[in-house]
Amino acid sequence: MDFMSSKSANRIVLGAIVVLAYIFLYVPILHITLASFSRDIVWPYPIRFTWNGYLALMKGSIYHEAFLNSTILGLGTAVISTTLATIAVLSILKYRSRYKPLILFLFLAPLFVADVLLGISTLILNGLFLEIPGNLLSAIFANVVRAFTYAMLIIATQLFRYNWKLDDAAMVFGAGPIRTFFEITLPNIWPALLGAFIVTFILSFNNLDISFYTLGAVPTMPSVAWGSLRFGIKPELYAIAALVNAAVLLCLAVMFVLMRSGTVGFGYKEGRDD
């Protein structure tokens, strides 16, 4: 997309789009943060400053439990689905088999099934046949089904151009398959795995429909947010959202400082790009 004649002009045009996208994505976050400090949360402008939301949060509320549950759900789903997806993509791209079309169809199918159906079907399975109440583990598994296809497609985006002869070369030099994976394949594809991890975490952290039906009364962030819409928005909700954002942005700021001083590379090597 180097459409402009000079590289710096191109950088400015593209950079403008990126800045606009960032503003577009972050304005609601700003709104939430401002509203969490405001006395009137529904129409917070002009702002009358107060700590009420955060104080109420400290006293302990359902939002603590909801946040914890959502985090466990997100991490569990991300770990399991990324692992399964890595195995799946590697197998599909590396080996020839006459069963491949069928298995590939099975792997891709969850994408086309709506969240609501996944939630309801698991509910039927749990409630009618297994007769277990809503719990976090079955919610994790239901979310993994949805997240698996996402993770698989994202990993495949980078992996389909992978040069498998590198693996062969490693085998020639005597490395077993497992060692080959950890010392050759993994260092080359870790961005894809990280991308899949983040995407699946976000997907399950925010998921309303699947988790709603499989969890029953166990609260998660989306379901308490949904509930608050019916019973009135509490300032604590905004407060915890603002805190989560602040924590993550702090991590990013730390990463930025480390990157700037050159301490950590995260895969970047000086002079490798243009």
């Binding site: 997309m1 609601p28 976050i29 709104h31 590396k94 086309f112 239901a142 693996d167 995407v199």
Partner: protein, 298 residues
């Protein structure tokens, strides 16, 4: 170490290795995906009467879904909205991903992660916040009124608002897909093209675009299918005329209690999304997209 495992592994042929590796994944999916879904398929052929599921095998539900005009309208509206949203997402994600890869330098990862951060707030909160900013008395319109311009009505409770909300939700997925695809793209190819006399636009269209086609299609699919089935966003932003198929289907399970109709709608949705994506993927020419081929043997 575990020498005998490696020995046994090397004796297997490609077919067996494939089956062995994918076995745990297949088992997991069959247990938690296929079995529950068969239950839903079965339910779609039954009937619900006054909130009770009655085992009465019929295809009335499917006839309802496919012939009733309101469902047709919802379905068409959903398809059009999903297409617009996906195309816009791809159009927006490409410059962003390109900028990050080309000019991001050592901060590439940071820029991409920064785009993903807003998503930890959750869909409900962000939609509320979007209302707060774009709504009739929201930030944007208040600012416009201060300057003396009329507030923009089209930003709330319209199909445009639903589209904006959906773009808002699915942009990071497409960006990640295209980012990963561009990560391994060899930009020296563009220099080679310029040496042979191609202009900027031609270089992009004939080199960058086809070689990253797979990433684009995957990003498109990851946006299109969930947008088609979306229920929360149109509920908040769509207004009275903005009902989408996913919303109608969801209400079958909550409001009206007609599970079998909802199940039938879900099956129809499955096939519609599947057929659309299958058609699109047919356009992809794998060789042209730089596919290094399946398997490590020639």
């Amino acid at each position: 170490m575990s020498g005998w495992i490696v020995q046994r592994w090397l004796k297997l042929d490609q077919n067996q290795r494939f089956l062995l590796l994918t076995a745990p994944v297949t088992l997991f999916l069959i247990l938690f995906f296929v079995v529950p879904l068969i239950a839903i398929l079965v339910v779609s052929f039954w009937r619900t009467e006054s909130y009770q599921l009655i085992v009465d095998w019929n295809i009335d539900n499917y006839i309802d879904v496919l012939t009733e005009p309101s469902y047709r309208v919802f379905l068409l509206r959903s398809i059009v909205t999903a297409l617009i949203v996906s195309v816009t997402c791809v159009a927006l994600a490409w410059p962003i991903a390109y900028f990050v890869i080309r000019y991001g330098g050592r901060y590439k990862l940071l820029l991409v992660l920064g785009l993903a951060v807003p998503f930890l707030t959750g869909i409900v909160l962000r939609v509320i916040a979007l209302q707060g900013v774009l709504g009739p008395i929201g930030l944007l319109n208040l600012g416009l009124m201060k300057i003396g311009i009329e507030p923009i009505q089209a930003l709330m409770y319209t199909k445009t608002a639903t589209a904006v909300g959906l773009i808002y939700l699915y942009l990071p997925f497409v960006t990640t897909a295209i980012y990963l695809s561009l990560l391994n793209f060899n930009f020296r190819l563009l220099d080679a093209a310029k040496v042979f006399g191609a202009g900027n636009f031609r270089a992009f269209w004939e080199i960058t675009w086809p070689l990253n086609w797979v990433g684009t299609v995957i990003g498109f699919a990851l946006t299109f299918v969930p947008s088609l089935a979306s229920a929360v966003t149109p509920r908040f932003l769509g207004g009275a005329n903005g009902t989408l198929f996913g919303l109608a289907m969801g209400s079958q399970f909550s409001a009206t209690g007609t599970w079998s109709l909802g199940a039938a709608m879900g099956v129809v949705l499955f096939f519609v999304s599947g057929i659309t994506l299958f058609t699109i993927s047919r356009i992809v020419n794998l060789k042209r997209s730089g596919f290094t081929g399946v398997g490590s043997r020639d």
